[in-house]
Amino acid sequence: MSLHVGEDLLSAIFATTLLLMLATATINSYQRYSETQQEVEEFNLALNTAETIISSTLAASEKNPGLIKISSERLENFSKILFSQGIMVEVEIRSLSGEVVYLQNQSPQTLDGNFSKLSVNLPVALCWDNKSVQLCELVVHFWRE
């Protein structure tokens, strides 16, 4: 086997450059793929959390799906369960005009580590004590370590 300097060496350099370019493109594509996968997974989780809050945690009655009643205690208990799984939520209820009607704050500003934040908005009917029902938007801010 003999090495033809200037011929085989040139093709080896060409092939190595191609391989390097391919490897870079592949790694880049895989990173984008992983990021999108993670975003999709986190969004799914955030949406499930918001739906659980509406249909179970704050549900006013089983007869009227979509109707909620504010209960700080039930929200705190639910937040504790999520916290044990490395998830933090901040629940906010806003009127259609954007006024904050209720806020349960549990942002991880004081905690160490990297948290990715995501928000999900869903419409809800908020039941007041005087039986009046207000159309609002439930905003769930979601952090996951």
Binding site: H4, S11, M21, A50, E51, A125, C127, V133
Partner: protein, 224 residues
Amino acid sequence: MNERGLGFTADILILAILVSLSFAILFSFNQAEAEIIKERYAASFARNALLALLNCTADQLGGFSYQAGFRVPELDGLIIQDMVSKNFYHKDIRQLLAEDVLLNLKLKIVDKTIDTIWSNEDMNKELTALLKIVLDELVGSRFGYRFSVKAIPFETDLAKLDFNLVIENLSSSGVRLCSETVLLPLPISNDELMKLLECRVGPVLPLGLEMDPTIEVNLEFWSR
């Protein structure tokens, strides 16, 4: 470059193309998943928007009032306006829609609309305007929408009783993302409805006719 070098480079090129193709396919699946999640969010938003809207009381949306009209069959369908306007601040949208359907059912006999059984077009107009404002505010900035309310208590070859209301805010290039439906009961019994119809049009309906006393409330989301 000799023949071996050329062959080696060609192999590498083919390998590169194959690997790139497989990643392109993988990435397109990823894009499809992102589309699915967008549609899932739209469906969840539509379902919650529909349920929340139906539960909401009119007072929180500004409310409305109207003057009711009563059709008098004995006086050739003359409409008598009620002097006192009716306020709907305490009722929820579910109740208002059910009343609107009941009070604005249109009777058609052999493709010819006779008239509404009662005459409460004003209520229909007021409620439609109220819902349009609320839906524009709640949904309009995110999605295009079509909100429809439909009821067909009965339909035969000769006669049909129906109600149809459509409120929409769509862009011309929009694509339908999702559709959510809630069924509500029509607040009248079969016997009451049958008696009312016989009173208006005589015994045109076959005996033992099965009624469908449901109201179909549908909310579709379209892309902007």
